[in-house]
């Protein structure tokens, strides 16, 4: 498939309710071809639900999801462009998942029209996976590897991965990002990757989607978003003077020392930095905590 013909994936007014509880509150989202997106959000923010809706694995309550202009729901032609590789359960029905790694790869070959069998074999070898092993006997890391093999070898123009690195050690995580970038350099396809391990992934994401309690809080170029925030540290009066007139998001005090996180749409150049305060950039992780660390919900003060 020619990368120039890759479709875009779009959600409009997407709402999803489980019974009476609404989990996604009207999501509008356009994923352009050839971009690596990071999807970050706290536990229960709705990341997996959103990915399921985007790939037609969950019927939306309101709104529509389209791929290249065509609705994805029960539309084989549109779904052929998509691969959603999600966590594999170690149980199946009421018993252990006795299917083998090989069964999953064979099923993937049946359902994913762009499946690259040789690539899958290379990845299995690189990860040291045993295809004869039963899914219920795999470690958490190996389960993650199976989902990664399926996602990469799917060669789907739009590939979505839900927490692909959750079970992996740091060496395997680095290896995954390397493989991802190699594949991306070769194919230029679209990836959406959800993760809780934000820091090491931040440099891989061209754009980041910040999901918070079923709403998109921020979406944009990672560099550009992170560049809007700065931490100002120093004596209280000096910090107050520098931050005056700007959007202050958080303030912490330690004795007479104060640190404020400010948001400056034009970048930290807008601050009248005097000599007596330190102005430092934030990492994506700190930006995330600043924006999503609601008090009384597992974060913030008790």
């Amino acid at each position: 498939m020619n990368p120039n013909n890759y479709p875009e994936l779009r959600a409009q007014g997407l709402r999803l309710r489980y019974g009476k509880q609404e989990v996604l509150h009207g999501i509008d989202l356009t994923l352009r071809p050839g971009c690596i997106y990071g999807l970050v959000g706290r536990n229960g923010a709705g990341k997996t639900t959103l990915l399921s809706c985007l790939t037609g694995q969950l019927a939306v309550s309101e709104g529509i999801v389209t791929c290249g202009g065509a609705p994805v729901w029960e539309n084989a032609a549109a779904l052929a462009n998509l691969c959603f590789s999600r966590e594999i359960g170690t149980t199946l029905g009421n018993g252990p998942n006795n299917l083998k790694v090989r069964d999953y790869l064979e099923a993937a070959a049946l359902f994913l029209p762009h499946w690259d069998k040789a690539y899958a074999a290379r990845l299995v070898e690189r990860f040291g996976l045993d295809e004869r092993k039963k899914i219920c006997k795999l470690s958490k890391g190996m389960l993650s590897m199976v989902t990664i093999v399926i996602a990469l070898a799917s060669r789907a123009p739009i590939t979505l991965l839900d927490e692909p690195v959750a079970g992996l050690d740091v060496v395997a995580r680095e290896d995954f990002y390397k493989l991802l970038l190699e594949d991306y350099a070769e194919t230029g396809r679209t990836f959406v990757i959800s993760t809780h391990i934000i820091e090491e992934a931040a440099s891989v994401f061209e754009e980041v989607i910040l999901l918070d309690e079923g709403n998109i809080l921020e979406m944009g170029e990672t560099d550009e978003l992170v560049g809007q925030f700065a931490a100002v540290t120093g004596a209280e009066e000096a910090v107050d003077a520098v931050c005056a007139g700007h959007t202050v998001l958080t303030c912490e005090r330690l004795g007479r020392q104060k640190q404020c996180v400010v948001r400056l749409p034009g970048g930290p150049g807008a601050l009248r930095a005097g000599g007596e305060v330190d102005v430092e950039p934030l990492t994506l992780q700190k930006v995330f905590v600043t924006l999503c660390g609601h008090e009384g919900k597992g974060g913030g003060a008790v």
Partner: protein, 125 residues
């Protein structure tokens, strides 16, 4: 192992700076090809768009130039231009920070000047 990036400035600026360092140290002499966007992305595990942004910054500054279909090359006189630009920023980037730290330690101007002279003459660390 390649040196990891720090968190003190935007990644694409660090990509540009790293290439500049290479040019200054003669690793990439004039008319020599520099690593491609994808090579940089793979080596540092960063998004190719970020690597491209860093390279484009240097193209805009005339440090690198593009040979169509081949890649990016170091422009003639790039090392001297980088040195001149960094020299202009040296006071702002290094001397002011040095003076600020010295002041908070109670090191006076004369003592600081002596230290600087000693380091410059004897290359002590």
């Amino acid at each position: 192992m390649l040196q990891p990036f720090n968190e003190q400035s935007a990644l694409y600026l660090q990509v540009a700076q790293m290439l500049e360092d290479g040019i200054l140290r003669g690793i990439y002499p004039a008319e020599e090809q520099v690593p491609s966007t994808n090579e940089l992305a793979r080596a540092y595990k960063i998004n190719p768009a970020t690597a491209a942004k860093g390279i484009n910054l240097l193209v805009d500054q005339g440090v690198l130039y593009k040979r169509r279909g081949i890649g990016m090359f170091v422009a003639p006189g790039a090392a001297a231009a980088i040195a001149a630009r960094r020299k202009a920023a040296f006071y702002q980037d290094y001397v002011i920070a040095l003076a600020k730290e010295a002041a908070s330690l109670g090191i006076g101007a004369e003592e600081l000047a002596q230290m600087v002279r000693r380091a410059a003459e004897h290359k002590e660390d």
